[in-house]
């Protein structure tokens, strides 16, 4: 009976901690961002913004993958997701930038000629 209770506590703790592990950047869904955010922007500004968001997303992917590695190492050596504990899980930032990227692209497609270049 005591062994079973210990197993259940261990399982609960493992589930609780696993839910805190940094998510893979590819699986993060885009946050809903309104195209209205880019109201008044011209085509050149929108193109620049799409390029800037591409670079920001690439940087965030690198950092998020590093956080996943650090979390895995943290589990092995300290039984805790060390990167996520210190704010290293960047899924909210990635979700926002993906949403902004989609909104900027949509705005560019709607307003600019030659939008197929994006």
């Amino acid at each position: 009976m005591r062994r079973r209770t210990g197993f259940l506590h261990g399982l609960g703790a493992a589930l609780l901690l696993a839910s805190g592990c940094a998510q893979a950047p590819e699986t993060v869904a885009a946050a809903p961002v309104s195209e209205a955010q880019y109201l008044g922007w011209d085509c050149a500004q929108l193109r620049f913004e799409v390029g800037r968001l591409d670079r920001v997303l690439a940087d965030l992917y690198v950092e998020q993958r590093q956080s996943r590695n650090d979390d895995a190492l943290g589990y092995v050596f300290a039984l805790a997701p060390l990167a996520s504990m210190s704010g290293g899980d960047l899924r909210h930032q990635i979700a926002l930038r993906k949403g902004e990227h989609a909104a900027a692209r949509q705005a560019a497609n709607r307003r600019c000629l030659h939008a197929a270049r994006f």
């Binding site: 703790a13 609780l16 901690l17 839910s19 805190g20 946050a31 809903p32 961002v33 309104s34 209205a36 955010q37 880019y38 109201l39 008044g40 922007w41 039984l79 805790a80 997701p81 996520s84 504990m85 210190s86 704010g87 290293g88 899980d89 960047l90 899924r91 909210h92 930032q93 979700a95 926002l96 949403g99 902004e100």
Partner: protein, 131 residues
């Protein structure tokens, strides 16, 4: 005499009391665990606050609020992870116990974002546009 369950009979009257006390303590402590940022409801914000802004300025304000909200959500998620680790290692939500509760800031940011969206829908699109 009322029927008594096997577990309670085995535990005796003192055991049942201790079990209830432990369950109450666990429920109280769980209530102190940090909430998910997604589950925090937006605060009520009047859209009149943005009456002096032009449409492009409101777009910039929306971007600023979105970024602020993402930063706060990251901080709140880290608090949750720290609380989970606190529970497993120290048996209490150590992080929430010693840091600021930022739920009200998240609620305010969400409310402001909704107010800007409403103001933009009314003034910049002349129609009840859904974002």
């Amino acid at each position: 005499m009322p029927p008594v369950s096997d577990a309670r009979r085995r535990a005796g009257p003192h055991g049942a009391g201790a079990f209830r006390a432990a369950a109450l303590a666990a429920a109280l402590a769980l209530g102190a665990c940090a909430q998910t940022p997604e589950s925090i409801a937006p605060a009520a914000v009047d859209e009149g606050r943005y009456g002096y802004l032009t449409c492009p300025e409101m777009g910039h304000e929306m971007a600023r609020l979105n970024r602020g909200l993402a930063n706060l959500a990251t901080e709140q998620s880290a608090k949750r992870v720290n609380d989970a680790v606190g529970w497993t290692h120290l048996l209490h939500p150590a992080h929430s116990a010693r840091t600021h509760d930022i739920r009200s800031w998240i609620a305010l940011h969400k409310g402001e974002l909704e107010a800007v969206e409403r103001a933009m829908a009314r003034r910049c699109f002349r129609a009840p546009v859904r974002f």
